[in-house]
Amino acid sequence: MTKLTILLTSLAALMTVPALAQNQDLGAPVGEGGPVESVSVLGGDDDDGPLRGTVTDESDWRDLGIAIPAFATDRDQPTPANASGTAALGSEIARVITANLQNNGLFKPTGPDSLPKPSFAQIRAPSWGSWSGRGAEMLVHGFANARPDGKLVVGCYLYDVALQDELIREGWEVRPADWRRAAHKCSDLIYARLTGENPFFDSRIAYIAETGPKDNRVKRLAVMDSDGANHRFLTLGSATALTPRYSPDYSKILYLSYVDGNPRIYVYDIGSGKQTLVTENQNPTIAPRWSPDGRFILYSQAVAGNTDIYRVPVTGGRSTRLTTAPGIDIGGSYSPDGSKIVFESDRSGTQQCYVMDADGTNQRRITFFGGRCATPEWSPRGDQIAFTRIGGGFNVAVMTPSGRNLRVLTSGWQDEAPTWAPNGRIIQFFRTTRNSGRSALWQVDLTGRNERRLPTPVDASDPAWGPIRP
């Protein structure tokens, strides 16, 4: 018995040792930003107003005017965050918040460039008279102060102009390099307070940057903030990179690379810039996914023409095979509680979506709409599954986890591979243009009406939206 245990342990150890991959295609490690810590900020008189209810349709909200003047500073002084000092930084922060709130179809924000600048004292005691005349129902105030140790303290206040009342306030302490995160945290505070929804601005997106002609496309792993800022290329482009996924804690990225000539999944560690194979094996591995707790990785492996879904602990070790049907079983997306997995399979003859328990049992088909169902992704709220609906072209569609209430949200020629915002209200995907093969990232909200293209430095595909940053 002991012998057997030892044998098993050493066998497991053998399989656990992550093979250090040849990193020929990796750029310099990016490193991660510092923490963003909440700090208490002073208010005027205290008494929170009521919540405004949840959003059911953006038309009720489109006209909610929000004035976002420049953030003030206690003392204009130099900061690595802005060449012109903390006062100029305050204007930049207000611009970032304005752009965030503008881009989701719910609000009508007015930014700092057309508004008077409040003084530092007015942040806690707004000059109501000058704002009520501007037609804004909501007023955002804030400050950006540099502390002696160089760190920034950013305060954020949301006021109801008609009621002359503070709705919410919060403050954050950040390294100068992370100043945009404070602007995103403030955007999230405002968004969550006014809509009753969960926040999503302070998050990052991994994707594939594409350049070159259709028959010789260079595909690089890239990352950026949810608004496109802080863009970085992580691979150099000599090997094709595909289908990235941020780990729930943003410390790693799973992606597929041809760096050794074969399609294989690597676990890229963002801090160290090192990467390892997800499983030591001669077979192609594709379609990587994280479990919601970040402890497991799903991958699909092709063995002699038959592709199945496997699960492996992120620390390495033995893989568990979850599907056995002949044909292509691929992908997989966990329900937020980790109990179920939605995946795609062509076992019925065409690609369809199936749900199974997390251990691979109870596999059952959920789509019967006539077309094909691919790349299903479970919403972080658990109530919807987004997928690529194939029927003629590709569209992004959503349905309930039982396959009901199918709604098609987009109408491009090829809209592929949806990914959810951390709050489950917005979906990003990539759109390919007929003939040219040019690709770009787009996003759409659940009404299907607020669709827009995301700015990226070059063509882009395979977006993967990470969770709210800690």
């Binding site: 699909s300 023409g305 590709f394 093969g437």
Partner: protein, 171 residues
């Protein structure tokens, strides 16, 4: 690990066989398959491509270095079989050669599915070559899914050209 692996092979070969007996290739568009008579193994020709190059392989088998598939299919039809027979004869003649079968798909499938589909097509071609006597350790397979099209338009003719398994000499 042994048991699931054996099952995989069984299932895979079962599905391949099932697929082989399926549907005649009514409207396979491009490949005009020359049933080239085996080139004599002459050691003549000081000029021209040398053994071990893709050019030599192409010169010997003509268009038969590539086989084509119907939409979403991976079965070997009669045109494919003829092309693979020409390849097998070539590789029988030059037993020192190793080669890669690259599996490809057209752009009308999703990226991940197409990677699996390309692998399936390359495997079909490999299995057929093995059945013709080419030993499997000489054949490497790789799938490029829809990432490496040869025909660039978005129409039926281009898609038909891109649904392929291409044999490429390693050395």
């Amino acid at each position: 690990m042994n048991k699931p692996f054996a099952t995989v092979i069984l299932l895979a070969s079962a599905s391949t066989m099932a697929a082989c007996s399926k549907e005649p290739p009514e409207e396979l568009p491009p490949p005009p398959v020359d049933t080239v008579p085996t080139p004599a193994p002459t050691a003549t020709a000081p000029s021209g491509p040398t053994v071990g190059t893709q050019q030599h392989f192409q010169q010997a088998v003509g268009g038969s270095t590539i086989i084509y598939f119907d939409t979403d299919q991976f079965n070997i039809d009669s045109a494919d079989a003829a092309a693979l027979q020409a390849q097998a004869q070539y590789f029988a003649q030059y037993p020192q050669l190793t080669f890669t079968v690259e599996g490809h798909a057209d752009e009308r499938g999703t990226r991940e599915y197409n990677l699996a589909l390309g692998e399936r097509r390359a495997t079909s071609a490999k299995n057929y070559l093995v059945s013709l006597g080419v030993t499997s350790d000489r054949i490497r397979i790789v799938s490029y899914g829809k990432e490496r099209p040869v025909a660039l338009a978005s129409n039926e003719a281009a898609w038909a050209e891109n649904r392929r398994a291409a044999s490429v000499i390693i050395n």
